[in-house]
């Protein structure tokens, strides 16, 4: 019952997003969309996915899209023609796809092939073979560790892409002028600075809790990295980019992003050198289950490093570019 209500909300918000012209409003509505999706995942009992969707889809995405839209423009260009041929092609393709799904088994039925192949093996044997109560973590980090390695490399590549496209060299006279502007903001942001200074240590501590508690409850490396990065982003937003760059050096962050991927790969190579296959954790220690625990701990640490560093890199580059363009815009007018 509650599924139908939440899905109806999703459809309403999606229609509103498509019809609106004001891009800032659209980015706020995308925040609501992310939160609704996360609630929907919670009602379907998928807690880890809801966690990741909330932190990435509703938090960081809204933030980055807001920064990007403040730098480009607020309203969409009006349409010039009505694309009727495209609409016709979309209807035909959609109809064929729906006709194709009529053959599939019912959603969630127990004798569907997807539930008979590997899933019973994971559910039955995960506790003996790996010894971790959270089956999602054991599947993600041990049975399917190779896929997770691919995900981490993709995140790292995204960070490198942003660095290659958006990093801008700051001249020293710009730096001193931006510094003076940021210091004069102290009175205006005073209340927020006090409250945020009290909150940031707890957010960092919570990120560490989520990282290491991923074996027993929802959590893991991805979510912990995003929460850690959001604490740093909060600091950088309220205290100014120059202060944040003095606290968190950009080259150290880039170094940590690479260290995460390197750590993950090294665990696999150590397993290779000990005679087993790549990313087989039972080669890491005398007792296979203890080897699994050690392997999962190390690779989750690697994932956490890379995700946190890449999020901070992306935000620093967006903000740095916005600071420079905003400052140049103010100087010209």
């Amino acid at each position: 019952m509650i599924h139908i209500v939440l899905l109806a909300f999703l459809v309403a918000v999606a229609i509103a997003i498509v019809r609106m012209r004001d891009l800032l409003a659209v980015s706020m509505l995308l925040g609501i969309y992310g939160l609704l999706s996360a609630s929907f995942f919670v009602t379907m009992d998928a807690v880890d996915v809801a966690f990741t969707e909330a932190s990435v889809g509703a938090g960081i995405s809204t933030l980055l899209m807001l920064v990007a839209i403040t730098m480009t423009g607020r309203s969409e260009h009006p349409e010039r023609h009505k694309p009727l041929l495209a609409l016709f092609v979309v209807f035909i393709t959609g109809g064929l796809l729906i006709y194709g799904t009529l053959d599939m088994p019912y959603f969630g039925s127990a004798d569907a092939p997807i539930h008979l192949h590997v899933a019973p093996h994971y559910i039955n044997n995960s506790m003996q073979e790996i010894g971790v109560p959270n089956i999602v973590t054991s599947v993600l980090a041990s049975y399917r560790a190779f896929d997770t390695f691919g995900e981490v490399v993709v995140i790292f590549t995204a960070g490198i892409g942003i660095l290659a496209l958006l990093s801008v060299v700051r001249r020293s006279e710009d730096i001193t002028k931006i510094d003076s502007i940021n210091d004069s903001m102290h009175v205006e942001y005073l209340l927020l600075r006090i409250i945020v200074k009290m909150l940031i240590p707890f957010i960092l501590l919570y990120a560490l809790y989520v990282q290491f508690h991923g074996d027993f409850g929802p959590g893991g490396g991805f979510q912990a990295g995003v929460i850690f990065a959001s604490a740093i982003i909060l600091y950088a937003m309220l205290f100014g980019m120059s202060t944040a760059r003095r606290v968190i050096n950009q080259s150290v962050i880039q170094f940590f992003a690479a260290i995460g991927v390197l750590l993950y790969g090294s665990v696999g190579v150590v397993s290779l050198l000990n005679g087993k296959s790549f990313l087989d954790y039972s080669a890491l220690s005398a007792d296979p289950v203890a080897g699994q625990h050690l392997g999962i701990l190390l690779i989750e640490l690697g994932v956490g490093f890379t995700v946190a560093s890449v999020m901070v890199i992306i935000f620093f580059n967006f903000e740095g570019r916005r600071d420079v363009s905003h400052h140049q815009g103010k100087n010209k007018t």
């Binding site: 009175v187 205006e188 209340l191 927020l192 409250i195 009290m198 909150l199």
Partner: protein, 109 residues
């Protein structure tokens, strides 16, 4: 115990709904923010206290208390930040034509 928990949950739900009615029916942004900011914090506090009185295990009580403490800090600060942003960008409150609009919205930090 469950009677007091039910009482707190009822008060919390009533405050939630009154906040929702407020955001729909009030005439102006600043009045809507007042409705949301006040009722939201108190409704969250009431519902969380009602859940704490249901006597679950040890760690769950602590987590509910942490959520309560965080909401008490975060909700009023967010209202302050939003009102400051609106004021800085010349969003004028809706007042009667008889009052002097320049006197009310003259530059305040």
């Amino acid at each position: 115990m469950s009677i007091s928990s039910a009482v707190f949950l009822f008060i919390g739900s009533f405050l939630c709904i009154s906040g929702g009615v407020g955001i729909l029916r009030f005439p102006d942004f600043y009045t809507r923010m007042h409705a949301v900011g006040v009722t939201e914090t108190l409704a969250t506090a009431m519902i969380l206290i009602g859940l704490m009185l249901q006597n679950p295990g040890g760690l769950v009580d602590l987590k509910l208390f942490i959520i309560l403490l965080m909401t008490l800090f975060i909700s009023p600060t967010a209202s302050h930040a939003l009102a400051k942003a609106a004021m800085n960008n010349d969003l004028k409150p809706k007042i009667n034509k008889k009052d002097d609009i320049e006197r009310v919205t003259s530059s305040k930090p």
